[in-house]
Amino acid sequence: MSQKYSEDYTLTELMAVSAAREIKDKEIVFAGTGLPMLGSMLAQHTHAPKCVIIFEAGTVDSQLAHLPMSVGDSRAMRLASTAAGLFEIFTTILQAGHVDVGFLSGAQIDAYGNINATSIGDYHRPAVRFTGSGGSGDIACLSKRTVIMARHEKRRLPERVDYVTSPGWIDGPEGRKRSNLDWGGPAAIVTTMGILRFDDKTRRAYLASYHPGLTPEGVRDNTGFELGITGATETERPTTEEIRMLRDVVDPERIFLQ
């Protein structure tokens, strides 16, 4: 029998595998472009064959044969249960409380998991402008939990983001309730250096695991906010089966895998 864990994988593959592991079987998953697509399609092909992938442009439970390059991609139509538009997805599925896990990303993520996908600097005179919310703000408000994907750099992980496009825990344990958000909140930030989770009491992010080859101190030194590292362990490596599935089945065209 071949070895369980792979020796040969890239950082993108490790992140995709980590994202997939956040999905449980039969969960309703709201996925965005890029790594979340890799992760959710991988989950569908491995431990969570009955997870339901929702794309905000209109499809429910796509059976993906080719990776979409957009959440509105024609590829998302394949063997979907239903296909309509944004209105149906956002109202009867997301706002009605049916999404178990939503995937998000952004240019800046802060200690409470608030996301900036809008702009850096003064909102009216931005130094850099990004895409804007799209469905990100909605998914952050109305999913039962969210998983955030991010590049781990000091400037991308500040104490406070310049603009809250998508609310996380806002400013602590009471933040969401005070803001009229009755449920939800971020569960994890999967970064290029590790996996961050949130303290149940303070709702601040801490380092749960660091990727193989890194040290917890090294990850902390590359974080813009004060990051607790006590108890952090090494991130579970991708299995040979997960890597094979990613390369041969999920993304043989190398759309997102380099």
């Binding site: 509105g72 991609d73 309509a84 703000g137 909605d138 496009t165």
Partner: protein, 319 residues
């Protein structure tokens, strides 16, 4: 009503400078690109554009100087290129005014317009700067009666006492969609995801639909449950094959990775962007000439959708 059917030039000429306008599609799918190019050729100015997730349609229109204000949630060609270089520059330079909502917020605004209501309530956007920060200066809201008097309001639900966000209706002067099929009476059939097209269309004062194919009305009326927009709501129809290129049109053709790559490369810089416009918009007299300019059948055949899948599974997507 044969006068419903018109030419692209004529349909575009009905749009005055300063019009409030919404376009169908989503990021790299089913945008009325032929109409967008013709708006640029006819040098429209000061358009106020509404969208949820536009892509290259809005970016090229901004770059060509046709737009003064936008109300959107997102702008990108997704995995083909993140935020459009022209929109990014226009915002960073302050040459357009913008208002940010979420996709849910924008689609509800279109829905309110379609339902004949002044606003709709929602639970989204709470806790975000989408609510706390206003983009438009008060002078703009006060100066144009077509702009909503406020970005949003909140209210306590009179039944449950929970707090809700109220988003204002959009009643655009024009909505322009690109659909796969329109019947000879004007009935519209969209295949695949409808994005926000139906809500945008039904909320607008004038609806213009460009399409791949015009078919006998009874062909569509034989299965009315598959049609989205009744004929009497459609004011003008234009037959434009490949009218969404380089965005995708489900069941007809895929997105065009080559053209999207050329666009994103040239749109980075003012000079090379101008050369893109000169070559692919101003330098061609109509959409037929545009399709020849990008390579004609040789290029377009590569995009042809598989009849079952609705896209081309063998398309080379990473160049």
């Amino acid at each position: 009503m044969p006068e419903k059917f018109t030419s692209l030039q004529e349909a575009v000429s009905m749009v005055p400078d300063g019009a409030h306008i919404a376009f169908g599609g989503f990021t790299v799918q089913r945008h009325p690109m032929a109409f967008i190019y013709e708006l640029i050729r006819q040098k429209k100015r000061n358009l106020h554009v509404y969208g949820h997730s536009p892509g290259g349609d809005l970016d090229i229109l901004i770059g060509a100087g046709c737009v003064s204000r936008i109300e959107i949630a997102y702008e990108a060609d997704e995995a083909f290129g993140t935020i459009g270089p022209r929109m990014r520059r226009a915002i960073e330079r302050g040459t357009i005014e913008w208002e940010d909502y979420s996709n849910f917020g924008m689609v509800l605004r279109f829905s309110a317009g379609a339902l004949g209501l002044p606003f709709l309530p929602t639970k989204t956007m709470f806790g975000s700067d989408l609510l706390k920060r206003e983009g438009f200066p008060q002078s703009s809201r006060a100066g144009d009666p077509k702009i909503a008097s406020a970005k949003y309001h909140t209210m306590e639900c009179p039944f449950t006492h929970e707090n809700l966000v109220l988003v204002p209706a959009i009643k655009a002067d024009f909505c322009v969609l690109h659909a796969q099929q329109v019947g000879s009476d004007g009935t519209v059939r969209i295949h695949g995801q409808s994005f926000g097209d139906v809500q945008e269309a039904l909320g607008a004062r004038t609806l213009i639909v460009t399409c791949e194919e015009i078919v006998d009305a009874n062909q569509l009326r034989a299965e009315p449950e598959r049609n989205q927009i009744p004929f009497f709501r459609v004011h003008h129809v234009v037959h434009v094959p490949y009218g969404a290129h380089p965005s995708a049109c489900y069941k007809c053709y895929d997105y065009d990775p080559e053209q999207l790559a050329i666009y994103h490369e040239r749109a980075k810089d003012d000079k090379t962007f101008k050369s893109y416009l000169d070559e692919f918009v101003h330098g061609v007299k109509d959409h037929k000439a545009y399709l020849e300019r990008i390579g004609g059948a040789k290029r377009l055949d590569k995009l042809t959708a598989d009849a079952t899948l609705g896209y081309n599974p063998t398309l080379k997507r990473r160049l």
